[in-house]
Protein backbone atom coordinates (compact mmCIF):
# COMPACT_ATOMS: atom_id res chain seq x y z
CA UNK A 1 0.00 0.00 0.00
CA UNK A 2 1.52 3.38 -0.97
CA UNK A 3 2.43 5.82 1.76
CA UNK A 4 2.00 9.56 1.35
CA UNK A 5 2.81 12.51 3.56
CA UNK A 6 0.48 15.44 4.08
CA UNK A 7 1.91 18.62 5.54
CA UNK A 8 -0.47 21.19 6.97
CA UNK A 9 0.19 24.90 6.56
CA UNK A 10 1.24 25.01 10.23
CA UNK A 11 4.01 22.54 9.42
CA UNK A 12 2.34 19.57 11.11
CA UNK A 13 3.07 16.49 9.05
CA UNK A 14 1.21 13.18 8.73
CA UNK A 15 2.56 10.13 6.95
CA UNK A 16 -0.25 7.74 6.19
CA UNK A 17 -1.04 4.65 4.16
CA UNK A 18 -3.28 5.35 1.21
CA UNK A 19 -5.60 2.94 -0.57
CA UNK A 20 -4.98 2.40 -4.25
CA UNK A 21 -7.78 4.15 -6.13
CA UNK A 22 -8.73 6.49 -3.29
CA UNK A 23 -8.24 10.19 -3.90
CA UNK A 24 -5.87 12.40 -1.92
CA UNK A 25 -8.98 14.17 -0.60
CA UNK A 26 -10.35 10.90 0.74
CA UNK A 27 -7.01 10.04 2.32
CA UNK A 28 -7.01 13.35 4.21
CA UNK A 29 -10.61 12.94 5.39
CA UNK A 30 -10.10 9.28 6.32
CA UNK A 31 -7.16 10.25 8.51
CA UNK A 32 -8.96 13.18 10.11
CA UNK A 33 -6.37 15.64 8.81
CA UNK A 34 -7.52 19.24 9.03
CA UNK A 35 -6.83 21.43 6.02
CA UNK A 36 -8.79 19.63 3.30
CA UNK A 37 -12.52 20.32 3.33
CA UNK A 38 -14.01 18.70 0.25
CA UNK A 39 -17.35 20.42 0.58
CA UNK A 40 -18.80 18.90 -2.62
CA UNK A 41 -17.68 15.43 -1.64
CA UNK A 42 -15.09 15.15 -4.37
CA UNK A 43 -16.68 16.05 -7.69
CA UNK A 44 -14.61 19.09 -8.64
CA UNK A 45 -17.37 21.55 -7.76
CA UNK A 46 -16.11 23.60 -4.82
CA UNK A 47 -12.28 24.00 -4.80
CA UNK A 48 -12.00 23.35 -1.05
CA UNK A 49 -9.51 20.48 -1.40
CA UNK A 50 -6.71 22.53 -2.94
CA UNK A 51 -3.24 21.09 -2.36
CA UNK A 52 0.32 21.41 -3.63
CA UNK A 53 1.94 18.29 -5.04
CA UNK A 54 5.58 17.41 -4.63
CA UNK A 55 7.15 18.44 -7.97
CA UNK A 56 8.89 15.10 -8.38
CA UNK A 57 5.53 13.36 -8.57
CA UNK A 58 3.65 15.73 -10.83
CA UNK A 59 4.37 13.78 -13.99
CA UNK A 60 3.15 10.56 -12.37
CA UNK A 61 -0.36 12.02 -12.12
CA UNK A 62 -2.72 12.55 -15.07
CA UNK A 63 -2.75 16.29 -15.85
CA UNK A 64 -5.46 18.66 -14.69
CA UNK A 65 -8.70 18.79 -16.60
CA UNK A 66 -10.03 22.11 -17.91
CA UNK A 67 -12.65 22.40 -15.15
CA UNK A 68 -10.09 21.71 -12.46
CA UNK A 69 -7.74 24.32 -13.88
CA UNK A 70 -10.52 26.89 -13.96
CA UNK A 71 -11.62 26.03 -10.41
CA UNK A 72 -8.06 26.32 -9.10
CA UNK A 73 -7.70 29.79 -10.52
CA UNK A 74 -10.30 30.89 -7.97
CA UNK A 75 -9.24 28.80 -5.01
CA UNK A 76 -8.91 30.75 -1.76
CA UNK A 77 -5.16 30.24 -1.48
CA UNK A 78 -2.85 31.09 -4.35
CA UNK A 79 -2.73 28.52 -7.14
CA UNK A 80 0.75 27.51 -8.24
CA UNK A 81 2.10 25.29 -11.01
CA UNK A 82 1.92 22.31 -8.66
CA UNK A 83 -1.59 23.05 -7.42
CA UNK A 84 -4.22 20.33 -7.74
CA UNK A 85 -7.64 19.63 -6.37
CA UNK A 86 -7.07 16.66 -4.09
CA UNK A 87 -10.34 15.05 -5.20
CA UNK A 88 -8.95 14.74 -8.71
CA UNK A 89 -5.72 12.99 -7.73
CA UNK A 90 -6.05 9.23 -7.43
CA UNK A 91 -3.56 7.19 -5.48
CA UNK A 92 -1.48 4.68 -7.43
CA UNK A 93 1.56 2.63 -6.42
CA UNK A 94 3.72 5.10 -8.32
CA UNK A 95 2.78 7.81 -5.82
CA UNK A 96 4.41 5.98 -2.92
CA UNK A 97 6.42 8.54 -0.93
CA UNK A 98 4.63 11.60 -2.36
CA UNK A 99 4.53 14.72 -0.23
CA UNK A 100 1.41 16.89 -0.41
CA UNK A 101 1.36 20.33 1.16
CA UNK A 102 -1.91 21.93 2.23
CA UNK A 103 -2.60 25.63 1.75
CA UNK A 104 -3.26 28.22 4.42
CA UNK A 105 -7.01 28.26 3.85
CA UNK A 106 -9.65 26.58 1.70
CA UNK A 107 -12.47 29.06 2.28
Amino acid sequence: MPTITLIQHSGESYTVEADDGATVMEVAIDNDIDGIIGECGGCCSCATCHCYIDAAYLDKIPPRGDLETEMLEFASSEAKDNSRLACQVEITDELDGMVVTLPETQL
Binding site: E26, I29, D34, E39, G41, C43, S45, L67, E70
Partner: protein, 404 residues
Protein backbone atom coordinates in the same frame (compact mmCIF):
# COMPACT_ATOMS: atom_id res chain seq x y z
CA UNK B 1 -21.13 15.67 31.90
CA UNK B 2 -23.20 17.60 29.42
CA UNK B 3 -25.22 15.35 27.14
CA UNK B 4 -25.87 16.25 23.51
CA UNK B 5 -28.18 14.13 21.37
CA UNK B 6 -28.16 14.55 17.60
CA UNK B 7 -31.15 13.15 15.72
CA UNK B 8 -30.59 12.47 12.02
CA UNK B 9 -27.45 11.27 10.28
CA UNK B 10 -26.93 13.28 7.10
CA UNK B 11 -24.56 16.01 6.01
CA UNK B 12 -25.70 18.49 8.66
CA UNK B 13 -25.26 15.92 11.36
CA UNK B 14 -21.78 14.89 10.21
CA UNK B 15 -20.64 18.50 10.05
CA UNK B 16 -22.21 19.35 13.41
CA UNK B 17 -20.35 16.50 15.11
CA UNK B 18 -17.09 17.48 13.43
CA UNK B 19 -17.50 21.14 14.39
CA UNK B 20 -18.39 20.32 18.00
CA UNK B 21 -15.30 18.20 18.56
CA UNK B 22 -13.00 20.57 16.67
CA UNK B 23 -14.29 23.40 18.88
CA UNK B 24 -13.28 21.34 21.88
CA UNK B 25 -16.66 20.10 23.06
CA UNK B 26 -16.24 17.44 25.72
CA UNK B 27 -19.92 16.61 25.86
CA UNK B 28 -21.24 13.05 25.85
CA UNK B 29 -22.57 12.94 22.30
CA UNK B 30 -25.05 10.43 20.91
CA UNK B 31 -25.94 10.28 17.22
CA UNK B 32 -29.29 8.69 16.40
CA UNK B 33 -29.72 7.66 12.76
CA UNK B 34 -32.61 5.89 11.12
CA UNK B 35 -30.51 4.35 8.35
CA UNK B 36 -27.91 1.68 9.01
CA UNK B 37 -25.22 4.00 7.62
CA UNK B 38 -23.09 6.63 9.30
CA UNK B 39 -23.45 10.09 7.67
CA UNK B 40 -22.48 9.89 4.00
CA UNK B 41 -22.24 11.95 0.84
CA UNK B 42 -25.68 11.86 -0.72
CA UNK B 43 -25.09 13.74 -4.01
CA UNK B 44 -23.14 10.94 -5.75
CA UNK B 45 -26.04 8.50 -5.25
CA UNK B 46 -27.81 9.67 -8.39
CA UNK B 47 -24.55 10.11 -10.30
CA UNK B 48 -21.29 8.20 -9.87
CA UNK B 49 -22.69 5.72 -7.37
CA UNK B 50 -25.61 4.73 -9.58
CA UNK B 51 -23.41 4.43 -12.64
CA UNK B 52 -21.09 2.14 -10.67
CA UNK B 53 -18.03 4.38 -10.39
CA UNK B 54 -18.16 4.70 -6.59
CA UNK B 55 -18.79 2.13 -3.88
CA UNK B 56 -20.74 2.73 -0.66
CA UNK B 57 -17.57 2.71 1.45
CA UNK B 58 -16.26 5.69 -0.47
CA UNK B 59 -19.32 7.78 0.31
CA UNK B 60 -18.65 8.06 4.05
CA UNK B 61 -18.70 11.68 5.26
CA UNK B 62 -16.19 10.66 7.91
CA UNK B 63 -14.69 7.18 8.38
CA UNK B 64 -15.90 4.93 11.19
CA UNK B 65 -12.65 5.63 13.03
CA UNK B 66 -13.66 9.30 13.33
CA UNK B 67 -16.60 8.40 15.57
CA UNK B 68 -14.42 6.14 17.72
CA UNK B 69 -11.58 8.64 17.99
CA UNK B 70 -13.97 11.45 18.95
CA UNK B 71 -16.07 9.28 21.22
CA UNK B 72 -19.34 9.79 19.46
CA UNK B 73 -21.86 7.17 20.47
CA UNK B 74 -23.75 6.03 17.42
CA UNK B 75 -27.21 4.54 17.42
CA UNK B 76 -27.91 3.48 13.87
CA UNK B 77 -30.99 1.74 12.42
CA UNK B 78 -32.71 3.53 15.24
CA UNK B 79 -35.67 5.89 15.02
CA UNK B 80 -36.47 8.67 17.43
CA UNK B 81 -40.25 8.68 17.94
CA UNK B 82 -40.81 11.60 20.29
CA UNK B 83 -39.19 14.41 22.22
CA UNK B 84 -40.32 15.37 25.71
CA UNK B 85 -39.05 18.90 26.27
CA UNK B 86 -40.11 18.99 29.94
CA UNK B 87 -38.08 15.99 30.96
CA UNK B 88 -35.49 16.63 28.20
CA UNK B 89 -35.65 13.13 26.83
CA UNK B 90 -35.90 11.53 23.41
CA UNK B 91 -37.86 8.29 23.06
CA UNK B 92 -36.55 5.74 20.62
CA UNK B 93 -38.56 3.11 18.77
CA UNK B 94 -38.35 0.09 21.06
CA UNK B 95 -39.08 2.08 24.20
CA UNK B 96 -35.64 3.30 25.30
CA UNK B 97 -35.20 6.95 26.21
CA UNK B 98 -32.13 9.17 25.93
CA UNK B 99 -31.70 12.16 28.23
CA UNK B 100 -30.27 15.36 26.80
CA UNK B 101 -29.05 18.71 28.01
CA UNK B 102 -28.89 19.98 24.44
CA UNK B 103 -30.53 18.54 21.37
CA UNK B 104 -29.82 18.91 17.64
CA UNK B 105 -32.38 18.06 14.98
CA UNK B 106 -30.79 17.26 11.63
CA UNK B 107 -33.67 15.20 10.35
CA UNK B 108 -33.47 16.22 6.71
CA UNK B 109 -36.21 15.45 4.26
CA UNK B 110 -37.97 12.42 2.85
CA UNK B 111 -39.19 11.82 -0.68
CA UNK B 112 -42.60 12.95 -1.75
CA UNK B 113 -44.51 9.86 -2.75
CA UNK B 114 -46.52 9.40 -5.87
CA UNK B 115 -50.20 9.18 -4.96
CA UNK B 116 -51.66 7.40 -7.97
CA UNK B 117 -52.90 3.85 -8.58
CA UNK B 118 -50.04 1.41 -9.05
CA UNK B 119 -47.52 3.40 -7.01
CA UNK B 120 -46.99 0.38 -4.74
CA UNK B 121 -45.91 -1.97 -7.56
CA UNK B 122 -42.51 -3.64 -7.50
CA UNK B 123 -40.04 -1.91 -9.78
CA UNK B 124 -41.10 1.58 -8.65
CA UNK B 125 -38.18 3.36 -7.02
CA UNK B 126 -37.37 6.54 -5.16
CA UNK B 127 -33.88 7.82 -4.49
CA UNK B 128 -32.90 9.35 -1.18
CA UNK B 129 -30.50 7.02 0.59
CA UNK B 130 -27.80 4.44 -0.15
CA UNK B 131 -30.29 1.62 0.31
CA UNK B 132 -32.57 3.17 -2.32
CA UNK B 133 -29.67 3.45 -4.75
CA UNK B 134 -28.55 -0.13 -4.10
CA UNK B 135 -32.13 -1.31 -4.65
CA UNK B 136 -32.42 0.57 -7.92
CA UNK B 137 -29.03 -0.65 -9.10
CA UNK B 138 -29.92 -4.27 -8.44
CA UNK B 139 -33.36 -3.90 -9.99
CA UNK B 140 -32.41 -2.25 -13.26
CA UNK B 141 -29.61 -4.68 -13.94
CA UNK B 142 -30.73 -6.69 -16.98
CA UNK B 143 -33.71 -4.41 -17.54
CA UNK B 144 -33.54 -2.02 -20.46
CA UNK B 145 -36.38 0.46 -20.16
CA UNK B 146 -36.48 3.11 -17.48
CA UNK B 147 -39.16 5.74 -17.03
CA UNK B 148 -38.26 8.67 -14.82
CA UNK B 149 -41.18 10.59 -13.34
CA UNK B 150 -40.10 14.13 -12.53
CA UNK B 151 -37.61 16.26 -14.47
CA UNK B 152 -35.88 17.90 -11.51
CA UNK B 153 -32.27 17.41 -10.40
CA UNK B 154 -32.69 13.86 -9.08
CA UNK B 155 -34.78 12.67 -12.01
CA UNK B 156 -32.42 14.13 -14.59
CA UNK B 157 -29.29 12.86 -12.87
CA UNK B 158 -30.81 9.39 -12.71
CA UNK B 159 -31.79 9.70 -16.37
CA UNK B 160 -28.22 10.65 -17.32
CA UNK B 161 -26.80 7.75 -15.28
CA UNK B 162 -29.25 5.33 -16.91
CA UNK B 163 -28.35 6.58 -20.40
CA UNK B 164 -24.66 6.22 -19.54
CA UNK B 165 -25.40 2.58 -18.75
CA UNK B 166 -27.09 2.24 -22.14
CA UNK B 167 -30.70 2.05 -20.98
CA UNK B 168 -33.67 3.42 -22.88
CA UNK B 169 -34.87 6.39 -20.88
CA UNK B 170 -38.09 8.38 -20.88
CA UNK B 171 -38.47 11.40 -18.61
CA UNK B 172 -41.98 12.60 -17.84
CA UNK B 173 -42.31 16.09 -16.37
CA UNK B 174 -45.55 17.76 -15.38
CA UNK B 175 -44.32 21.35 -15.78
CA UNK B 176 -43.68 22.83 -19.20
CA UNK B 177 -39.91 22.73 -18.71
CA UNK B 178 -37.16 20.85 -16.83
CA UNK B 179 -35.93 21.85 -13.34
CA UNK B 180 -38.51 24.63 -13.40
CA UNK B 181 -38.26 25.25 -9.67
CA UNK B 182 -34.51 25.82 -9.73
CA UNK B 183 -33.38 27.28 -13.04
CA UNK B 184 -34.56 29.76 -15.67
CA UNK B 185 -36.28 28.85 -18.94
CA UNK B 186 -33.02 29.38 -20.83
CA UNK B 187 -31.20 26.84 -18.69
CA UNK B 188 -34.14 24.40 -18.91
CA UNK B 189 -33.94 24.59 -22.67
CA UNK B 190 -30.23 23.79 -22.69
CA UNK B 191 -30.79 20.71 -20.49
CA UNK B 192 -33.70 19.54 -22.64
CA UNK B 193 -31.36 19.66 -25.61
CA UNK B 194 -28.58 17.91 -23.67
CA UNK B 195 -30.81 14.99 -22.65
CA UNK B 196 -32.34 14.72 -26.10
CA UNK B 197 -28.91 14.69 -27.76
CA UNK B 198 -27.87 11.94 -25.38
CA UNK B 199 -30.82 9.83 -26.41
CA UNK B 200 -33.28 10.33 -23.56
CA UNK B 201 -36.90 10.89 -24.53
CA UNK B 202 -38.17 13.89 -22.57
CA UNK B 203 -41.87 14.73 -22.32
CA UNK B 204 -42.74 18.01 -20.61
CA UNK B 205 -46.24 19.29 -19.75
CA UNK B 206 -47.17 15.67 -19.18
CA UNK B 207 -48.81 14.21 -16.09
CA UNK B 208 -49.00 10.60 -14.97
CA UNK B 209 -52.33 9.10 -13.97
CA UNK B 210 -51.51 5.49 -13.23
CA UNK B 211 -48.72 2.95 -13.07
CA UNK B 212 -49.64 -0.26 -14.82
CA UNK B 213 -48.54 -3.66 -13.56
CA UNK B 214 -48.20 -7.26 -14.56
CA UNK B 215 -48.04 -9.86 -11.77
CA UNK B 216 -47.36 -7.21 -9.17
CA UNK B 217 -44.51 -5.57 -11.09
CA UNK B 218 -44.64 -2.30 -12.97
CA UNK B 219 -44.89 -2.72 -16.74
CA UNK B 220 -46.05 0.68 -17.92
CA UNK B 221 -46.96 4.27 -17.17
CA UNK B 222 -50.30 5.75 -18.16
CA UNK B 223 -50.04 9.43 -18.95
CA UNK B 224 -52.74 11.94 -18.16
CA UNK B 225 -53.63 12.20 -21.85
CA UNK B 226 -54.32 8.45 -21.89
CA UNK B 227 -51.18 7.34 -23.72
CA UNK B 228 -49.21 4.43 -22.27
CA UNK B 229 -45.45 4.04 -22.08
CA UNK B 230 -44.23 0.48 -21.55
CA UNK B 231 -41.36 0.29 -19.05
CA UNK B 232 -39.42 -2.15 -16.88
CA UNK B 233 -38.44 0.25 -14.11
CA UNK B 234 -39.91 3.51 -12.80
CA UNK B 235 -37.90 6.06 -10.83
CA UNK B 236 -39.89 8.78 -9.11
CA UNK B 237 -38.22 12.11 -8.32
CA UNK B 238 -40.98 14.57 -7.50
CA UNK B 239 -39.43 16.42 -4.61
CA UNK B 240 -39.05 16.03 -0.88
CA UNK B 241 -40.85 17.08 2.27
CA UNK B 242 -39.10 18.22 5.46
CA UNK B 243 -38.99 15.81 8.39
CA UNK B 244 -40.47 18.21 10.91
CA UNK B 245 -43.07 16.00 12.63
CA UNK B 246 -40.81 15.13 15.57
CA UNK B 247 -40.26 18.83 16.21
CA UNK B 248 -43.86 19.77 15.55
CA UNK B 249 -45.28 17.15 17.92
CA UNK B 250 -42.90 18.39 20.59
CA UNK B 251 -44.42 21.84 20.18
CA UNK B 252 -41.55 23.52 18.32
CA UNK B 253 -42.55 26.18 15.82
CA UNK B 254 -42.62 24.80 12.26
CA UNK B 255 -43.73 26.19 8.93
CA UNK B 256 -42.45 24.36 5.86
CA UNK B 257 -39.55 23.22 8.01
CA UNK B 258 -38.44 23.62 11.59
CA UNK B 259 -38.25 27.35 12.28
CA UNK B 260 -34.81 28.51 13.36
CA UNK B 261 -33.04 31.85 13.68
CA UNK B 262 -29.76 32.80 12.01
CA UNK B 263 -27.92 30.93 14.77
CA UNK B 264 -29.82 27.70 13.98
CA UNK B 265 -31.76 27.93 17.25
CA UNK B 266 -35.33 26.63 17.36
CA UNK B 267 -38.05 28.10 19.53
CA UNK B 268 -36.62 26.03 22.42
CA UNK B 269 -33.27 27.41 23.67
CA UNK B 270 -32.00 23.88 24.29
CA UNK B 271 -32.69 22.69 20.74
CA UNK B 272 -30.92 23.61 17.50
CA UNK B 273 -31.68 22.42 14.01
CA UNK B 274 -29.76 22.48 10.72
CA UNK B 275 -29.97 21.35 7.12
CA UNK B 276 -32.76 20.58 4.67
CA UNK B 277 -35.33 20.35 7.48
CA UNK B 278 -35.03 23.98 8.58
CA UNK B 279 -36.84 27.12 7.57
CA UNK B 280 -34.30 29.83 8.27
CA UNK B 281 -33.73 33.54 7.70
CA UNK B 282 -31.06 34.70 5.29
CA UNK B 283 -30.05 38.32 5.74
CA UNK B 284 -28.38 38.45 2.32
CA UNK B 285 -31.61 37.41 0.63
CA UNK B 286 -33.79 39.38 3.03
CA UNK B 287 -36.24 36.56 3.66
CA UNK B 288 -36.87 33.16 5.19
CA UNK B 289 -36.49 30.01 3.14
CA UNK B 290 -35.94 26.29 3.25
CA UNK B 291 -33.09 24.96 1.13
CA UNK B 292 -32.19 21.49 -0.05
CA UNK B 293 -28.45 21.62 -0.48
CA UNK B 294 -25.15 20.37 0.84
CA UNK B 295 -23.73 23.86 1.31
CA UNK B 296 -26.74 24.89 3.40
CA UNK B 297 -26.47 21.75 5.54
CA UNK B 298 -22.76 22.22 6.19
CA UNK B 299 -22.79 25.94 6.89
CA UNK B 300 -25.91 25.90 9.01
CA UNK B 301 -24.51 22.98 10.98
CA UNK B 302 -21.48 25.13 11.84
CA UNK B 303 -23.81 27.77 13.25
CA UNK B 304 -25.75 25.11 15.16
CA UNK B 305 -22.53 23.73 16.64
CA UNK B 306 -21.49 27.22 17.71
CA UNK B 307 -24.84 27.75 19.41
CA UNK B 308 -24.45 24.44 21.26
CA UNK B 309 -21.05 25.69 22.44
CA UNK B 310 -22.65 28.88 23.73
CA UNK B 311 -21.22 30.99 20.93
CA UNK B 312 -22.80 32.91 18.10
CA UNK B 313 -22.03 32.30 14.43
CA UNK B 314 -24.68 33.77 12.17
CA UNK B 315 -25.52 31.77 9.07
CA UNK B 316 -25.80 34.20 6.16
CA UNK B 317 -24.38 32.95 2.90
CA UNK B 318 -25.29 33.06 -0.74
CA UNK B 319 -26.74 29.62 -1.54
CA UNK B 320 -24.95 27.51 -4.10
CA UNK B 321 -25.74 24.17 -5.70
CA UNK B 322 -24.44 21.89 -8.40
CA UNK B 323 -25.64 19.11 -10.65
CA UNK B 324 -23.68 16.82 -12.95
CA UNK B 325 -25.49 15.45 -16.01
CA UNK B 326 -23.54 13.67 -18.74
CA UNK B 327 -20.45 15.85 -19.23
CA UNK B 328 -22.18 19.05 -18.22
CA UNK B 329 -21.43 20.46 -14.80
CA UNK B 330 -24.11 22.88 -13.72
CA UNK B 331 -23.06 25.20 -10.90
CA UNK B 332 -25.60 27.62 -9.49
CA UNK B 333 -25.05 30.48 -7.11
CA UNK B 334 -27.76 32.74 -5.74
CA UNK B 335 -31.48 32.24 -6.35
CA UNK B 336 -32.67 33.33 -9.78
CA UNK B 337 -36.36 33.37 -8.85
CA UNK B 338 -37.85 36.76 -9.71
CA UNK B 339 -35.19 37.83 -12.21
CA UNK B 340 -36.23 40.19 -14.99
CA UNK B 341 -33.23 39.86 -17.26
CA UNK B 342 -30.92 36.97 -18.12
CA UNK B 343 -27.58 37.75 -19.76
CA UNK B 344 -25.73 34.99 -21.57
CA UNK B 345 -21.97 34.60 -21.36
CA UNK B 346 -20.29 31.96 -23.50
CA UNK B 347 -21.86 29.54 -25.93
CA UNK B 348 -24.47 26.86 -25.11
CA UNK B 349 -23.64 25.09 -28.39
CA UNK B 350 -20.18 24.44 -26.97
CA UNK B 351 -21.66 23.24 -23.65
CA UNK B 352 -19.85 26.08 -21.96
CA UNK B 353 -21.93 29.09 -20.93
CA UNK B 354 -23.43 30.96 -18.02
CA UNK B 355 -26.61 32.91 -17.47
CA UNK B 356 -26.33 35.99 -15.26
CA UNK B 357 -29.67 36.91 -13.72
CA UNK B 358 -30.56 40.49 -12.88
CA UNK B 359 -33.40 42.15 -11.04
CA UNK B 360 -33.16 45.70 -12.29
CA UNK B 361 -29.44 46.49 -12.24
CA UNK B 362 -28.72 44.05 -9.46
CA UNK B 363 -27.14 40.67 -10.11
CA UNK B 364 -29.08 38.04 -8.11
CA UNK B 365 -27.81 34.70 -9.40
CA UNK B 366 -25.57 32.94 -11.91
CA UNK B 367 -26.08 29.49 -13.44
CA UNK B 368 -22.99 28.13 -15.17
CA UNK B 369 -22.46 25.10 -17.38
CA UNK B 370 -18.82 24.00 -17.52
CA UNK B 371 -17.71 27.52 -16.68
CA UNK B 372 -16.41 27.38 -13.11
CA UNK B 373 -14.48 30.54 -13.98
CA UNK B 374 -17.82 32.38 -13.85
CA UNK B 375 -19.26 30.49 -10.90
CA UNK B 376 -16.32 30.90 -8.55
CA UNK B 377 -15.90 34.70 -8.76
CA UNK B 378 -19.70 34.88 -8.98
CA UNK B 379 -19.94 33.54 -5.44
CA UNK B 380 -17.75 36.38 -4.24
CA UNK B 381 -19.51 39.03 -6.30
CA UNK B 382 -22.92 38.02 -4.96
CA UNK B 383 -21.71 37.82 -1.37
CA UNK B 384 -20.22 41.30 -1.67
CA UNK B 385 -23.26 42.70 -3.45
CA UNK B 386 -21.23 43.68 -6.52
CA UNK B 387 -23.01 43.61 -9.87
CA UNK B 388 -21.09 43.57 -13.13
CA UNK B 389 -22.90 45.56 -15.80
CA UNK B 390 -24.87 43.35 -18.20
CA UNK B 391 -22.34 44.32 -20.89
CA UNK B 392 -19.44 43.11 -18.72
CA UNK B 393 -21.32 39.90 -17.94
CA UNK B 394 -22.02 39.25 -21.61
CA UNK B 395 -18.36 39.63 -22.62
CA UNK B 396 -16.59 36.29 -21.96
CA UNK B 397 -13.25 38.09 -22.11
CA UNK B 398 -14.15 40.54 -19.35
CA UNK B 399 -12.35 39.42 -16.16
CA UNK B 400 -14.98 39.23 -13.41
CA UNK B 401 -12.12 38.96 -10.95
CA UNK B 402 -11.23 42.59 -11.64
CA UNK B 403 -14.42 43.73 -9.88
CA UNK B 404 -13.45 42.08 -6.60
Amino acid sequence: MQRIVVIGAGHASGQLLDSLRRAGSEAHITLVGEESWLPYQRPPLSKKFLSGELTAERLAFRPESFYEKHQIHTRLSCRAVSIDRDTQTVSLAGGETLAYDLLALTTGTRVRELAIPGAELAGVHYLRGIDDALGLQADWQGRDNVCVIGGGFIGLEVAASARTLGKNVTVVEMMDRLMARAVSPGMSEYFLGLHTRNGAHVMCSTGVSELLGTDGRVSGVRLSDGREIPTDVVVVGIGVVPNQELAQEAGLACDNGILVDEFARTSDPKIVSAGDCTNHPNSLLGRRLRLESVHNALEQAKSAAASLMGEKLAYAQVPWFWSDQYNSKLQMVGLSEGFDRAVQRGNPDEDKFSLFYYRGDVLIAIDSVNRPGDHMPGKKLLAAGISPTPEQAADPEFPLKSLL
